[in-house]
Structure formats: C-alpha cells, structure tokens
C-alpha cells in the first residue's frame, strides 16, 4: 500500500474519532462476518421463496430436485397464476379476468380496485388497437358506473379516455398509459391479489432483506465506521472510509 493511502486512511480514522464514531477495521469486521452462522437450508429456502413468488415454476421444481428444498406453496397453483399474469402482460385482459374467476371468483368480488384496474387495462388495449367505438361503448357501459361509486376511479377513467383525444399518443400527457409498464403494473397487481388469496405473502422475502441490509448499514453508519457493501450485485466489501 502506498504511503499516500496510509495517510489518507489515518486521516479518515482521526476524523471519525473526532465525531466519536467507533472505527472497525477490515480485519475486525471480517472476523465478525466469519462468526455469523447462516444455514444453507435457510438460503435455499430464501431462493425457493423467490422462485415461487415470482412464478418461476420450472426452476422451483428443479431446485426442489437439486437441493431437496420444499416449496412453501403448491407448485401447480403457480402455473395458473402465471397464466393470468402473462395474459395481462400480453394485453389479453378479458382472458385474464376469466382465468382469475376460474381460479377463485372471490378475488375480483372482494377487490373492486383490482377489478377496476383490469377493466381500465381492457379499455387501454381497445384504444391501442384503434377500436374507438368499442372503446367508448365499453367505457360508458362498464367503467363509468364504477366511477360513480368511487371518485378516484372516475379520475382514472377520465385520464384513460383522454387517450382518444390525441392523434399522436406518443406526445400526449397520458401517453404512458399505453406504455408496457402499465401492463406490468396491472399484471403485478393481479399476481399479488392471487397470492394473497392463497394465503401466501405477495412479495418475495429477498428484496425485503436487501432493503433491510441497506437500512441496517445506514443505521450503523450513525455510530461506527466499518467496511460497507455498497454494490449489492457483487457484494464487495469496501474499506472503511469516512
């Protein structure tokens, strides 16, 4: 290590002491990391939970065989759920609604917001395909009555219908409704509702744990200077700096 870096590091440590933060060296920290006990089984479960919740049914089945980890949900139900999700992602909303009802009619009955969003998506798809008349009819007959029940539904409906007013939607203020991201948003909403109806958490645990890591590091930052991991995707331990 060059003298320059040694000096820089010492300065950093002095500064840290001035703010009365505890300085933990890389060696000390690595010892603490080594003392942590993480069970392999638990990591396998965490990965399985991700595969299952995100709908990677084949991969989940393979992981069960390759690692002996049992999925926390019946794998058959994933296939149905993914079919619904995929239908929305591809713009086949009618098909998706039918499939959800086949799965469990209570999902849409008890979730008016989700049902509205699916119908809205249906309207968006009609507009996308240039079926103006059909779109207007659908908006008046199916969506407007729901708007009367709920102010926020009405606003969203108006926003969607506004798409019809523009010749060039790529340049209009509500154009993002036609974006693929709107389909994905609706698809993940349906996905979450189905998972909830199956008594399963709607989000995988892994992203929450990663967020928790970011949070835990920032909490510890207040009291100590220690080697952090800044890049989650490579899990690289950085030298402590102030």
């Amino acid at each position: 290590m060059s003298l320059f870096w040694i000096v820089i590091r010492q300065l950093a440590e002095i500064e840290a002491m001035a703010t009365s933060k505890k300085v933990i060296t890389r060696e000390e920290w690595e010892k603490k990391l080594n003392d942590v006990m993480i069970r392999k089984e638990d990591m396998n479960k965490l990965v399985m939970n991700f595969l299952v919740t995100e709908g990677y049914v084949d991969a989940a089945e393979k992981l069960r065989m390759e690692s002996g980890t049992e999925p926390d949900i019946d794998l058959a139900t994933i296939t149905d759920r993914m079919a619904v999700k995929k239908a929305v992602q591809c713009g086949n909303v009618e098909d998706a609604i039918e499939k959800v009802n086949d799965l469990n009619p209570e999902i849409l009955d008890t979730n008016p917001q989700l049902f509205f969003h699916l119908q809205q998506q249906r309207l968006i798809e009609l507009i996308r395909n240039g079926k103006v008349e059909e779109a207007l009819e659908f908006a008046q007959e199916e969506l407007a009555p729901r708007g009367e029940e709920n102010q926020s539904f009405l606003e969203e409906l108006e926003k969607t219908v506004a798409l019809l007013a523009f010749e060039d939607v790529s340049n209009c203020p509500v154009g993002d409704l036609l974006d693929i991201s709107q389909r994905l948003k609706t698809a993940s909403e349906v996905n979450a509702a189905i998972l909830t109806s199956q008594n399963h958490e709607k989000d995988p645990k892994l992203p929450s744990l990663l967020k928790m890591l970011i949070w835990a590091q920032s909490q510890l930052d207040e009291k100590a200077v220690y080697p952090r991991i800044n890049d989650l995707s490579t899990a690289t331990l950085e030298d402590p700096t102030v």
Binding site: S67, E201, K223
Partner: protein, 459 residues
C-alpha cells in the same frame, strides 16, 4: 504449474476442508441458535422491604400487612432477575386481587440499587404507573398525566419496547400509554403495595397475559418494515443474486430453467449483459460441479470419489485431508442408512480408523461410529448425520474445492460464500454490531425467523 502454486493449492485445500469440517460438526448443535437469556420467574424475597409486606410461598403474590404511616414504608418487591434485553419487547402483568384501604398500588421498573421503601417512580432511575391517581412517575416527586386509575380486579401490565426505547403500560389488555425510557442498565420488574390489605398477583408469563403481546410485537415489526420497504433497490438485483447463487452452488438444472423463464418474461431479463457482469468465474466447471452434487446427494459416494480422481486428482490425493475424511464419513453414513452394518464396520476400520486420535476429526469419527450402536439411528441423538443437510455439506465442500481450482479465483471467500451469503452475513453483522453498541438491547436479525414468519398472508 510451479511448486509454489502446488503449495498454495495445498494450503487452500486445508483451509476449505477445515471450514466444512467445522460445518459438519456444527450441524449437530444447530437449532439452538436462539439466544438464551434468563427471565424473571418470581419475586425476589431477599431484598424486598421486609416488615411491610408478605410474599406468598410461590413468590408470585404480595400483600401489604401493616398500616402505612408515611412515604418511607412502601412495600416494594422486585423480580428475581432483571428484564431480559435481547428481544423486541419485555412484558409482565399484575392482577389486583384487593385494592385494600387506599389502592396505592404501583407497577414499574427499577434499577438494581433502588431504595426498597419507596414507590417505583419516586426515586431516580425508576419508573412507575400508580393505581390510585393513574399518574406516571419518572424519578421526580411529581407525576405526569398518563392513564386511568386501577383497582381491585384490574389486570395491569408493564413493558419495555427496546425498538422504540419506551416503557409502556396496559390496563385490562389495552395499552394505556408509553413514555421514553431514559434509564440505562438492567431494569427489574417492580411492584409496590402501600395500604392495608392490598394484594397483588404477578404473572411473568407463566400464565396467559390479558394483553396480546404477540400482536403488539407483530405491529412493532410492521412499523419497522414499513420504513424499510420505502427504500428502493437497483433493478433486477434480486434476480441477479438468485442467479449467482445457483451458479455458485452448481444448481445447473435450476439455473437453466431460470434463464429460460427469464427470457420469456415481459420484458425479457438480460441480466448478464445489462450489468456487464463477468460470470466466467462462477460458470467454471458448472457441469462437473452439478454432477458431483447429484452423486453425493444420491448417496453415491464411491462414484463421486471416482469422478474426483478423474477430474481433480489433487483434491483427493491426500487421503488424510478433511475432504477425504468427510467423503469417507459420508460413505460410512450411507452404508448405515441402508442397513449394511457389517460393510460399514469394515469400511470404518479401513478408512476412518486412521483419523482416530486426530483432534479435529475425533468428534465426527466418534459420532459416525456410534451410529452402529443404535437399532434406529435416525431417532438417536446422532440422527443429524443421516439427514439430507449432511449430504448437502459434503456436496458444498466438494463444490468449493472445485471452485478453488479455478485459476481466476481471487480468494477463498469467493469459493466459500455466494454473493447472497455475503450480503446476509453483512446484514447479520450490522444488526449485531448496532445492538451491541446499544447495550445489547433489542432483537437480533435471524434469517431463520424471517423465513418462518408471515406464513399466513398478510396484506
């Protein structure tokens, strides 16, 4: 390859082997990872203010037996142990059997040196909720407006929330209020009686609480979770970590299915290019690692040995290494599993006996050999050896050994720990460090608990 490299390999081999040997031994004691801390179980009869009160023989109820004359003849009694701190919440309850002449009953927390003839909250380093006026006292003579009064037949609880650093009190199962905990050091659950015939029973958790503590804890965790969920993550980071995990451990079939599915999602996830992420290192020998894992998981140890001799002779060249030892142990275990006890015995004499007397191997050799003593070894205390997880450790060891033969492998850590595991270790270490800087107060992060919580969908 120079001799220097060979020496390096040998050293690596030893270090990795020892790591997994440690894992194999530790698996016998796994499951007892919860931190045991002593909790209050009864009242302390030794330092209570003798003369003013009587503690029942079961040490779980007190009665004020004299007539109170002044403020220095309070009947105070502490629990036999301080409230444990390595948890989210500590909580206990009292039931007022008889409010006596004046109902001057109090519940609270006091430090070890508390003056045992005063109400909790009247002196420094104490805090108490008083029944006669419903006020909260925190070391000053004057109380603060807090909650309702309490009297005969009421159940009152006192708790410490270590996450929010607050005391909280309950009456008949509902939270009355909370107040910042400004006292440091061990705190003893404390109750006081101060007029004739006052009688109070205490419940340190032996009986069901009137208050739903589980629900309170769940809500506290939820509060923290809400803050955390607002943090945003780089796109596809979870996806990438799962992928690198599968690569690391050589779960090749899973990986292929995962990649295939990733391509057909809308929009397709093209992780590798997107992040300019060089996965050469972990793709290394993927198929061989998968094959060996499968053999070991199927209990085909001879076949695994043969493949290793063929592909990576140096890994198995030293028959006294930890690698060979664990493989031999596993072979022995597989023989016991199928009931080939005689063969197991022979195998043990040839392959395991040479490890007897070597400290680092001793325990495991003994455990393995002792399997022979049981008619139903699965049900014995050595049953852990026959579990799937033991095969997994051996498979993980072979996997790490092969990874370490990669000329591009930077360090041992890369062979031992997936990115996912490094992040989980960092998370655990950060939480533990922060807690230890906070007087060990609060709950530690436990992956195991997180995984087993929320089985029932909450939305």
């Amino acid at each position: 390859m120079g001799s220097n490299n060979n020496n390096n390999n040998k050293k690596k081999n030893q270090d990795l082997g020892l790591y997994f040997l440690e894992m194999a031994r530790a698996s016998s004691s796994m499951g007892v990872e919860d931190e045991k801390e002593e909790s209050p179980m009864e009242l302390n009869t030794i330092n209570s203010s003798g003369g003013f009160l009587v503690v029942s023989p079961d040490k779980l109820s007190v009665k004020y037996t004299s007539v109170n004359l002044h403020g220095h003849d309070v009947g105070v009694v502490q629990a036999n142990k301080p409230a444990p701190v390595k948890r989210l919440v500590y909580y206990f309850e009292i039931y007022v059997k008889d409010a006596g002449a004046k109902g001057q009953i109090a519940i609270g927390f006091t430090s070890e040196t508390f003056k045992m003839r005063r109400q909790p909250g009247w002196e420094a380093n104490s805090c108490g909720y008083h029944g006669d006026d419903g006020l909260l006292y925190r070391g000053q003579g004057k109380g603060e407006t807090f909650g309702p009064t309490f009297t005969s037949n009421d159940t009152v609880g006192g708790g410490i929330n270590y996450a929010s650093q607050e005391f909280f009190f309950t009456k008949n199962g509902a939270v009355v209020g909370s107040v910042f905990k400004d006292i440091k050091g061990p705190l003893f659950p404390t109750i006081a009686v101060h007029s004739q015939n006052e009688e109070v029973q205490v419940n340190f958790g032996q009986k069901k609480f009137a208050f739903d503590l589980k629900d309170y804890e769940a809500q506290e965790r939820m509060k923290q979770q809400m803050t955390i969920e607002k943090i945003s993550l780089p796109p596809n980071v979870s996806y990438g970590l799962v992928r690198s995990y599968l690569l690391h451990y050589g779960y090749e079939d899973t990986l292929n299915s995962f990649d295939l599915a990733g391509k057909s999602t809308v929009p397709p996830i093209s992780f590798a290019q997107e992040n300019g992420f060089d996965e050469q290192d972990i793709v290394y020998a993927l198929n061989q690692r998968k094959t060996l894992r499968q053999l070991i998981r199927n209990g085909e140890i001879d076949a695994a040995f043969a493949k290793l001799h063929n592909w990576y002779p140096w890994i198995v060249q030293d028959d006294k290494s930890s690698t060979c030892f664990l493989l031999h142990c596993q072979k022995f275990i597989e023989l016991v599993r199928v009931g080939a006890l005689e063969e197991a015995m022979k195998y043990g004499r040839v392959e395991l006996a040479k490890f007897i007397g070597l400290d680092e191997f001793e325990n495991l050799v003994q455990d393995c050999v002792a399997l022979l003593a049981y008619e139903k070894p699965q049900e014995s205390s050595l049953g852990y050896l026959l579990e799937d997880s033991q095969r997994e450790i051996v498979a993980d060891m072979v996997n790490a050994m092969i990874l370490s033969t990669n000329p591009n492998a930077k360090d041992l850590h890369g062979c031992l720990h997936s990115y996912l595991e490094r992040l989980l270790r960092q998370l655990t270490a950060c939480c533990l460090e922060r807690r230890s800087m906070n007087g060990d107060q609060g709950e530690a992060f436990r992956l195991h608990r997180v995984l087993n919580s929320g089985k029932k969908g909450k939305c």
